[in-house]
């Protein structure tokens, strides 16, 4: 697994994921929810924001079943899903899907945390 390299805007988000907090940014000016973490709101251009805890659920937007060994240490096949968050339809995350059955379109899903080490957890997805 290649560990993520946080940027200066996203470092705190990754710290919160490591504590198993499911948060995205909420604009203090216009309330727009956004992910990934950025300093400015793309809608009102405001710079004030706070973390908002949202439901760790969403719906399947698309998925792939990967067979080509693009990464040397990732056993194939594996599934990557794209999920639209239930509480923030403008926010989309990708993660792995480790289930015996393939996902289906628009399937309700929930987040699972995969512990890597004390500073890193990953967000993966499974049926709600």
């Amino acid at each position: 697994m290649i560990k993520p390299v946080p940027d200066r805007d996203s470092a705190e988000w990754w710290e919160r994921v490591a504590r198993h907090e499911f948060v995205i940014q909420s604009c203090e000016g216009c309330g727009t929810l956004r992910f990934p973490a950025r300093a400015y709101c793309p809608r009102c251009r405001g710079r004030d924001w706070s973390w908002r805890q949202v439901s760790p659920t969403g719906r399947i937007l698309s998925w792939i079943v990967n067979h080509q060994p693009f990464l040397p240490d990732a056993p194939t096949p594996y599934t990557v899903v794209m999920v639209r968050l239930a509480d923030a339809p403008g926010c989309v995350m990708v993660g792995n899907w480790r289930q015996s059955e393939e996902p289906v379109a628009d399937q309700p899903v929930r987040a699972f945390y995969t512990y890597v080490d004390e500073r890193l957890s990953l967000i993966n997805w499974g049926p709600l």
Binding site: I2, I64, N124
Partner: protein
């Protein structure tokens, strides 16, 4: 905004051989393609006062290529960051420089050892670029075929696009490549071959994916007036547009409909600049990093309704004898992958009427496009016209 419509032209095109291993540097490839393009135009390096390319840290810069060819003090140059999204903007920006009078003869090149040295995305030396990678690489989601497969699946789910639609595109383009002596893959394939090819990232099979190629391609941009006095029939740059759109960033920053690309925003502007519409286009060389890329562009450039790209291809419309021949050279899927410049050069050949066995009779207007805006949410495109 009409832009410098028909005031500039492409006066020459040049290629190196395409291969899986060039055994030479990208600097050498660039020089070879540039010299070939100049020779095609009836010019020499002494005539050049502008040099332009795009790259992602994977190729020789204009500041290397210029001195290597004895072009020591160009009046204008461009070292554009970016991959397939920006290929056509390089020629567009050269046209602006020529139209503005800051340069008269600009060579645009793309030179890559994209198989033997620097493979795109997730394999070999190429590292994912951009802040989005942190949200993707831990999940093994790193390579362009994976990302495009994700969007292709979304299109299949929303519009009923089928594997056979992707397959028909691969089969059709291979048939074109069979008529192209430059093409790397010239053996015809069938739908059964397509369906039997191994999975890369479902829903993509091997034959959904473009080649990875070592090679270079170059074009010469000059004024329309000067081009008329040169060796080859001029091909006018009627429109060049580039920019962003409401694209789907895999990092999720501006999530919209994943089945619509930046090309949908760019197309009306591009057509207006040229004063033509999709119905006027005789031949289209569309960025085909993957089969789905062509299908979504057929929709977003207005050749069929949204969601109808698959059936449009299945109807045979994109074949050489169809209503809109697409990727007459075989495209990246079968000719070779030079990141866009070879699509521009093929459009030039078609409009000059020198495309040999794959010539579209009477072609007068061509569309050529860049990566439509997935992965990087920008695109670029040209409309070229027989001079």
């Amino acid at each position: 905004m009409s832009g410098p419509r028909d005031r500039t032209a492409i006066a020459g095109v040049g290629y190196t051989a395409f291969s899986k291993n060039s055994w030479v540097s990208t600097l050498t490839l660039a020089c070879e393609a540039v010299l070939a393009a100049l020779d095609d135009a009836g010019l020499t390096a002494d005539d050049v006062d502008g040099i332009a390319t795009h790259r992602v840290g994977d190729s020789a810069a204009p500041s290397l290529v210029g001195p290597a060819l004895g072009i020591g003090a160009p009046a204008w140059y461009l070292d554009q960051f970016g991959g397939g999204s920006v290929s056509h903007s390089v020629v567009g920006q050269a046209a602006l420089a020529v139209a503005a009078g800051v340069a008269e003869t600009v060579v645009c090149y793309r030179a890559i050892n994209a198989r033997s040295e620097f493979r795109m995305g997730g394999t070999g030396r190429a590292a994912p670029v951009g802040l989005e990678a942190q949200y993707q690489v831990p999940y093994g989601y790193t390579a362009p075929p994976q990302q495009y497969a994700m969007y292709a699946r979304a299109h299949m789910l929303k519009y009923g696009t089928k594997a056979e639609h992707f397959g028909q595109l691969a089969v059709t383009q291979r048939a074109n490549a069979a008529k192209n002596p430059r093409a790397l893959m010239r053996t015809p394939i069938t739908m059964d071959d397509y369906l039997a090819s191994r999975w890369i990232a479902e829903p993509f099979r091997l034959l959904d994916c473009c080649l990875e190629t070592d090679g270079a391609c170059a074009v010469v941009v000059t004024t329309a007036g000067r081009a008329r006095d040169l060796r080859r029939p001029p091909v006018l740059i009627s429109a060049a547009a580039w920019g962003g759109g409401d694209s789907f960033l895999s990092g999720g920053e501006t999530p919209a409909d994943p089945t619509v690309t930046s090309a949908a925003e760019l197309a009306p502007r591009l057509y207006a600049m040229a004063g033509v519409g999709p119905g006027d286009v005789d031949v289209a060389e569309l960025y085909d990093c993957f089969t789905y890329s062509v299908i979504v562009q057929l929709e977003d450039y207005g050749f069929c309704a949204k969601g109808e790209g698959g059936p449009f291809v299945a109807s045979g419309a994109t074949a050489l004898d169809g209503s809109l021949p697409v990727n007459t050279h075989g495209g990246f899927l079968s000719e070779g992958y030079v990141h866009g410049m070879n699509h521009i050069a093929e459009a030039v050949s078609q409009l000059r009427g020198d495309a040999g066995d794959r010539q579209v009779p009477g072609a007068e207007v061509a569309l050529s496009t860049a990566q439509p805006g997935y992965i990087l949410p920008v695109t670029s495109a040209l409309i070229l016209r027989k001079g």
